[in-house]
Symmetry: C2
Subunit: 182 residues, 2 copies
Amino acid sequence: MKNMRKIIYYVASSIDGFIAGVNEDVSGFKATGNGVQKYLDDLQEFETVIMGRKTYEFGYKYGLQPGDPPYPHMNHFIFSDSLVLDNAKSNVKVRKRDLQEIHKIKKDSKTDVYLCGGGTFAGWLLENELIDVLKLKLNPLVLGNGVKLFGDSKKSYQLDLRSSEPFEEGLIINSYNIEYII
Amino acid sequence: MKNMRKIIYYVASSIDGFIAGVNEDVSGFKATGNGVQKYLDDLQEFETVIMGRKTYEFGYKYGLQPGDPPYPHMNHFIFSDSLVLDNAKSNVKVRKRDLQEIHKIKKDSKTDVYLCGGGTFAGWLLENELIDVLKLKLNPLVLGNGVKLFGDSKKSYQLDLRSSEPFEEGLIINSYNIEYII
């Protein structure tokens, strides 16, 4: 039976494709309004979250303790070849960056899988054709520099727009399927 | 009397902020559908177009003859410190990159001014707070590399979303005012 769980990259971006500014500054992104609330509500649907090390450690700035889950109701898989978390909670696991691990997580998850943050890790997943859906919280913002949506990936992909919805404060949430050439 | 003509940067972009791919490849952008038609219709409203040299010369690939106007109904101002056009048509003029020239064109135009193409020239205008409106034809496309929306500009700007409209083939046209800090 084909596993139908999807990996959903649900992320805030500037109109020039940055998910954070210099020094991971996200102060230019909208933090309030019904679009942000929609995103927070949507997150409740996920049982599983995957992220890279930098995204996990970004949480430390906001008081996250090493080993704790940023999303208490989800199972966390942090992808890193170097990170060590002593006393990690039972729903926080570190995994080596390995395609088989990703497939296993998709297979085991009871829900679609939330790809949190991105940049380098998202670029790696994209180039391995493992991101199924991109939900872009398009912020009314030019950043000019910072962390790119797909890190250092230089590859080009066509998308299929499934929905586009404007919210308060100029936020638009666009949902795209990624069209990998088969 | 305050001159109320606006400079409108009306441009196609990938979701990662590129207006063309490597070697100015624009084959991934939508060339058909009612969103493209909307753009072409909107262009009829402009009497004046400004662009950089690279954008003008890009037209040569599609049969434009040096000195001819890509938009016959508009007055063209090509900004370059090096370009020489012999036998230019009367509605095609080359101007040095000078802020006073931009102000004069705004002042003299009977309509808002269309900023065509962009990249380097758009970045220069942006950093001089001379782009009033950004009309983004957001294409369902990741490019990964190529010509950036604002060239090498690294500066950050907040935008004010005025309208967002989805069209056929996954194209969305978003209209933003640029919020310069006064």
